[in-house]
């Protein structure tokens, strides 16, 4: 089975006096929906940020789809793997929902019609067509989250990393998100999802990893 993320013996710390990860190794397979869980502050977000090249390990190396991320640009990483931040506001930039969906591809010079078609299709799939002309920051939290995920799918990434996508969503919204995740799974897109939501974990997880202060304390497949 092919690996999507490999942490090889990495060390990482924010502050010198309390190391977060030391000699940490973990391999995550592309085909699975892998769930990462653990208490607040156990290092889940840090691990996903390391995998995306936003943070650099002090020691060891990290491979993404077989490439050492030390030699990759953030833009290149973002085209291969979609990342949804814990707070979706962080990744919304444009003045309208439609522009939010289309601007990165247009900037990069992709054919307009192709970009617009894909945006329309995704907005429909995420039930956001009605908000095309709205300022993204005025959307509700659940809508922002869906927009952030829809926008990163514009690049047609082969893998997704979602940091607490269920946080502050009511049951109905979690249901909408679950449908999105099932759709992605049908399209053979693997995912790493940070989550605390037990029902959600049981429903989607192929593999469940529990983290505690920088160590894997439980790792089980279903």
């Amino acid at each position: 089975m092919s690996a999507v993320i490999q942490f090889k013996n990495i060390a990482f710390t924010y502050t010198q006096d309390m190391p977060l990860f030391s000699a940490f190794s973990l391999t995550i397979e592309q085909a699975h929906i892998t769930i990462l869980r653990g208490e607040n502050g156990s290092g889940k977000t840090t691990l996903t940020r390391l995998a995306m090249g936003m943070l650099k390990p002090l020691k060891g190396s990290i491979f993404l789809l077989g490439n050492d991320i030390a030699s990759m640009q953030l833009g290149e990483i973002g085209q291969k793997v979609g990342y949804a931040f814990q707070s979706p506001e962080k990744q919304l930039f444009a003045a309208t929902v439609y522009e939010e969906m289309t601007f990165p591809r247009l900037l990069l010079g992709h054919p307009e019609q192709e970009v617009f078609d894909r945006a329309d299709q995704l907005l429909k799939q995420f039930d956001l067509q009605a908000y095309k002309e709205m300022y993204p920051r005025l959307l509700s939290f659940g809508e922002k989250r869906r927009l952030a995920i829809a926008a990163m799918l514009m690049n047609n990434p082969s893998y997704l990393i979602l940091d607490e996508p269920t946080a502050s969503l009511d049951d109905e919204r979690v249901e909408v998100l679950s449908a999105v995740i099932e759709q992605q799974k049908k399209e053979k897109r693997g995912m790493l999802i940070v989550s605390h939501n037990e029902a959600f974990i049981r429903r989607h997880g192929d593999r469940i990893i529990t983290l505690e202060r920088g160590y894997v304390i439980d790792d089980s497949y279903r």
Binding site: Q73, E76, E89, K90, Q91, A94
Partner: protein, 246 residues
């Protein structure tokens, strides 16, 4: 010397203001150099950590230096100094302009480092006691307080944008400018929302319910401040007169 290091924040504010204003007004190398060395001397007397600060803002210093080099290379006025293969690279006027620019900016930087020897709170109190309206003093203090956060947010925003699949290295300059618009818009929106929240929170605690605020800490000028201010502003005056005269 230790006495100068403990001088009143108001003296430092006045000196920094005078120094940076003159640096912007003067445009000849000699006066600018004199100002710059005055700034360095004052920093030493006030025990500013010039080296540490220089290391911290090194990127900005490099940028400053880079602009100066570009200015001197592309200037087309004056006599040639350096010509390579028939192509004039540096002319005397360009070089002088670039040097003046470099010294001027350095002087502004060293006048700011004088202020770094007082705490933010002392400086705000100094501004208030200099009869600066409290709103402005408060805004200055908030701005300084949020500057590092603003910087972090900009960096985060830059990262998040790149992760949307935008490879900054392959983007032509014109499109790169467009990128800055996408980054600045949300960061500024956040900053404004933060500021509004802060001011609401303060009003709820009855800030400015009474028009005259009483201060718990008040600053007092000492002999050393009067001597220092007389000497420094005396030197400023002499320099200005010298400028007019020459």
């Amino acid at each position: 010397m230790t006495a100068i290091a403990k001088s009143d924040p108001r003296s430092k504010l006045l000196i920094a203001f005078g120094l940076s204003t003159l640096a912007l007004v003067f445009n000849d190398l000699l006066s600018l150099t004199a100002l710059f060395f005055m700034g360095i001397l004052l920093n030493m007397a006030m025990k500013a950590e010039l080296l540490q600060i220089a290391v911290r803002i090194r990127k900005f210093l490099f940028l400053m230096f880079g602009i100066a080099v570009i200015q001197s290379v592309f200037s087309s006025a004056g006599e040639p100094i350096l010509t390579i293969a028939g192509l004039t690279l540096i002319r005397d006027e360009g070089l002088i302009k670039a040097l003046a620019y470099l010294i001027r900016l350095s002087t502004v930087v060293v006048s700011a480092t004088i202020l770094s020897t007082s705490t933010r709170r002392e400086l705000v109190q100094g501004l208030v006691q200099l009869k600066c309206p409290y709103e402005i003093a408060f805004m200055v203090s908030v701005a300084i307080r949020f500057l590092p956060e603003l910087r972090n947010e900009l960096l985060d925003s830059m990262t998040a944008l790149q992760l949307r699949g935008i490879d900054l290295q392959v983007l032509p300059i014109r499109k790169k400018l467009k990128i800055y618009q996408y980054i600045l818009l949300p960061v500024l929106t956040n900053a404004i929302l933060n500021a509004r929240e802060l001011s609401n929170a303060m009003e709820m605690r009855a800030f400015r319910a009474f028009s005259k605020r009483t201060d718990y800490h008040t600053l007092h000028m000492h002999k050393v401040d009067y001597v220092l201010l007389t000497v420094v502003f005396g030197a400023f005056t002499l320099l200005s007169i010298g400028r007019l005269w020459v």
